[in-house]
């Protein structure tokens, strides 16, 4: 309602503007017309004076008639002011009124110059009509007053010249003025109607303008909305493309990881046999035996192969982790010297650690691995030296950020940023850097597993890694690990005993892989244990039923056909509650290990293992 009233007021205001503009235009235009008319009338008066009464005579002598001079000078005087005002101040009320007065005075002059011809008196009525062009009834007033004053004054001073008699009635001028007013009345009505029509037109124009403005505003508004919607759509499309790309990348990495993990698992079984038998054989040979050095070469190769499979497992997030709540700043500080040695003297190591940094839960050795791999990668990107910057910070990844980054959950994170001022990399390289065996280094200089390992460790630790790189400027890796609100734990050191841990207990060995089973049995027996061997779970249960003596420990593979290691252990407990259980597996994501973390209360040894590692672990479990 208020809006309608406001709009109505606005339309009236606009109508008044349009009306005034139009009226002013009419005033100015009519002023100019009168200026021209004044000039013409003046000249016409001069011509009339010369034509009608050029000379006056006194007997036989003549001279310029006195009418010529008023035609020239008085006509000029009457015309000059209105012409000047019309040219310099068109549109002013004072100009209009002056013109009205002048026009009637010129009429009086012309009537005189033409000898009072009745035809010339029509000039008065014509002038009034012309004045009505202004569409301002007020200009008729001074014009009428001039006519009335002319007759009134002449009636007083020169009555015969205007009324033809010496003693005219003193009210005779009213009759003359009355006829002028008679015309004024009609002109007034005509002006009123004309002005009323002008107002109506102005109102309609204002309404149309208002409608058009509203329409334009509406169109602009809609256009703006469409543009905004289009931008939003484009943004969503871009986000979706980015998300699809990230998803595609993640799926690719997942697939590659599974492949690598599967290969590594099979390799682990093989390496368990190779490394185990090599170790056993070396124990039985003297160092000067011709086979000793060859077996040592096999052992070394086996070790390197084990390292490779560990990296593959790390990438595929299948390696065994020992996560602890740790202070990342402290981990970096402790790695500082190693890193310094690793990157060499040409590269400046800058460390910017955030104070009051939150804690993360991760495997300290894996974090160390991450730092070293990234440092090596940075070093190789800066062959001529540069700066390696390691920074940490507390960050909060918002829902908005998470919406733009697939696999990111909103929450508090600890950021680890490793930046170099190296050669950087292009977009295509950026897309593939985490793929295993992808490298831009020369053949033999890199395994292509460094960044893959970093990727796998970060992912397995529940974090995310992003790379920002610009060719010629450098690269930054940003790792976000979930923040945990727990105090940091002290790191434990695992030292592997170099000697076989001996024992006399009875061990039930369950392994479906015959070669692994045979080798494991051999290690255990060499260490003094009595070994009961089973190919699968059912056989193991059968042995447990039939064996008269105690079974101190069951060493069982986890992944086996028909019955898995965990089920076997649960059923064994019902038969022999005193029997302890030690699992062994090449998988880190099975019935007892989830995402590389062992279920609570479980004992586990990861394949491939060395004879020493096995006997140590067996001894450790038996001693619990």
């Amino acid at each position: 309602m208020n809006t309608d009233l406001a709009q109505s007021k606005e339309v009236v205001r606009q109508a008044a503007d349009i009306f005034n503009e139009q009226r002013q235009s009419i005033y100015q235009h009519t002023d100019r017309m009168f200026a021209a008319l004044m000039l013409i009338q003046w000249l016409a008066g001069i011509v009339a004076a010369y034509w009608i009464s050029p000379l006056s005579w006194v007997g036989t002598t003549s001279q310029t008639h006195i009418h010529v001079w008023p035609a020239l000078f008085l006509g000029g005087a009457i015309s000059s002011l209105p012409i000047a005002l019309a040219l310099t101040r068109p549109g002013f009320a004072s100009t209009r009124y002056t013109i009205a007065v002048s026009q009637m005075l010129l009429g009086a002059l012309l009537i005189h110059l033409t000898g009072g011809r009745i035809e010339t008196h029509f000039h008065v009525f014509g002038s009034l009509a012309f004045l009505s062009f202004y569409r301002d009834w007020r200009v008729l007033i001074p014009a009428t007053l001039v006519v009335a004053a002319d007759h009134f004054l002449r009636g007083i001073f020169w009555p015969q010249s205007v009324y033809g008699v010496l003693s005219a009635s003193q009210w005779r001028w009213v009759e003359h003025a009355g006829w002028v007013i008679f015309e004024d009345v009609f002109l007034f009505i005509a002006i009123k109607r004309s002005v009323s029509e002008m107002w109506n037109i102005a109102e309609r124009t204002a309404e149309i303008k208002s409608f058009n403005a509203g329409l334009e505003h509406h169109v602009n508004e809609r256009t703006a909305q469409l543009v905004a919607a289009n931008r939003e759509l484009e943004r969503e499309v871009a986000e979706r493309k980015l998300a699809e790309e990230q998803l595609r990348q993640a799926q690719k990495m997942e697939a590659v990881g599974k492949l690598a993990g599967g290969v590594a698992h099979d390799f682990n079984n093989l390496l368990t046999i190779i490394n185990g038998h090599t170790d056993l054989s070396l124990r039985r040979l003297k160092p000067d035996d011709p086979l000793y050095r060859k077996l040592e070469a096999i052992k070394e190769a086996g070790g390197r192969a084990s390292s490779l499979t560990r990296q593959l497992l790390a990438f595929s997030r299948k390696q065994m982790l020992q996560p602890k709540v740790l202070d990342l700043n402290k981990a970096i500080f402790e790695t500082n010297k190693i890193l310094q040695r690793l990157i060499g003297e040409d590269i400046d190591l800058l460390i910017g650690l955030a104070p009051d940094l939150g804690k993360v839960k991760a495997d300290p050795s894996q974090i160390e691995q991450v730092l070293m791999n990234l440092a090596v990668n940075a070093r190789d990107a800066m062959p001529s030296g540069g700066k390696l910057t390691i920074e940490t910070d507390n960050v909060y990844l918002s829902e908005n950020y998470a919406g733009h980054h697939i696999s990111v959950r909103p929450g508090s994170y600890i950021m680890l940023a490793v930046s170099d001022t190296g050669c950087g990399m292009d977009a295509k390289t950026r897309e593939r850097i985490f793929e295993p065996f992808f490298t831009t280094k020369e053949v033999g200089k890199g395994t292509g597993l460094g960044l893959s390992t970093v990727y796998g460790i970060v992912k397995q630790s529940g974090g995310n890694i992003w790379v920002y790189s610009e060719e010629g400027c450098g690269t930054t890796f940003k790792i976000y690990l979930p923040r945990v609100d727990q105090p940091a734990e002290e790191p434990t050191t695992n030292s592997e005993d170099t000697n076989l841990q001996m024992g006399v207990e009875t061990v039930l060995l369950v392994e479906d892989e015959e070669m692994v089973r045979k080798m494991t049995r051999e290690i255990l027996e060499e260490s003094g244990y009595q070994v009961l061997e089973a190919k699968h779970g059912h056989e193991a249960l059968s042995i447990a039923n039939q064996h008269k003596g105690p079974i101190h420990l069951m060493l069982s593979d986890v992944v086996m056909p028909q019955m898995g290691g965990r089920e076997l252990a649960e059923r064994l407990v019902t038969l022999r509650s005193e029997t302890k259980v030690l699992y062994m597996s090449g998988y880190t994501d099975d019935a007892i290990v989830h995402h590389g973390v062992l279920d609570e209360g479980m004992s586990f040894i990861e394949k491939p293992f060395t004879p020493n590692a096995l006997t140590s672990k067996v001894r450790e479990v038996l001693n619990l």
């Binding site: 005034n20 009226r23 005579w57 007997g59 036989t60 009457i78 002013f92 009320a93 004072s94």
Partner: protein
Amino acid sequence: MKFFRSACATEIDRPSQLRTKRGRLVLLVSMMLWLLIVGIGLSVLWNYESTPGASANPPALWPVESKIQRAPAHDTLVILVHPHCPCTRATIGELAELMAHCQGRLTAYVLFLKPEGFVDDWEKTDLWQSAASIPGVNVMVDDDGAEASRFNSQTSGQTILYDDEGRLMFSGGITASRGHLGDNDGESAIVSLVNKGSAVRTETSVFGCPLFDKNSECRKTKDKQNEY
């Protein structure tokens, strides 16, 4: 209502310069000066228009020496005219009206002055043609103003009326002012005298150019006659 409202609205848009006191004062003074000049000019003009020429002193009885044939049965009108006097054009115009009002009861003579030594047809101006075209009007040349002298007339447009017995009935002009057409006392008086035999006025002012030079013999003769 709309009309008056909108008419008032026009005053809103007056340019700001008009609002300055100095501008308004200059405009006001200019207009007052202009009105004064124009008023003075018009006053001078009106004064000139209303200033009559020298009045005639015609003989009370028709001068027998006149060469004009007086009408025996009705009134005779004599008008002395300077052929080049522009003011007399109004007199001829009024004569036409007068003759229309007195049809058949008035014989009119318009005598056109022709000074001695002037070229032939000097007197045959548009006034001659105009006068000649009026029914009942006779136009004649007044050589060297002899008739004007007989009728003691000095101003162009001098109109004199004699009755059918040669008695002077009216002397004056038949225009209200110099060269001005329109109703006037002279014309009204003549129409009344011719049609009714009486009139309120028998003399009026005459407006026109002097018929004779200031030092002409005619004038001197007349002036002497006036002295006597």
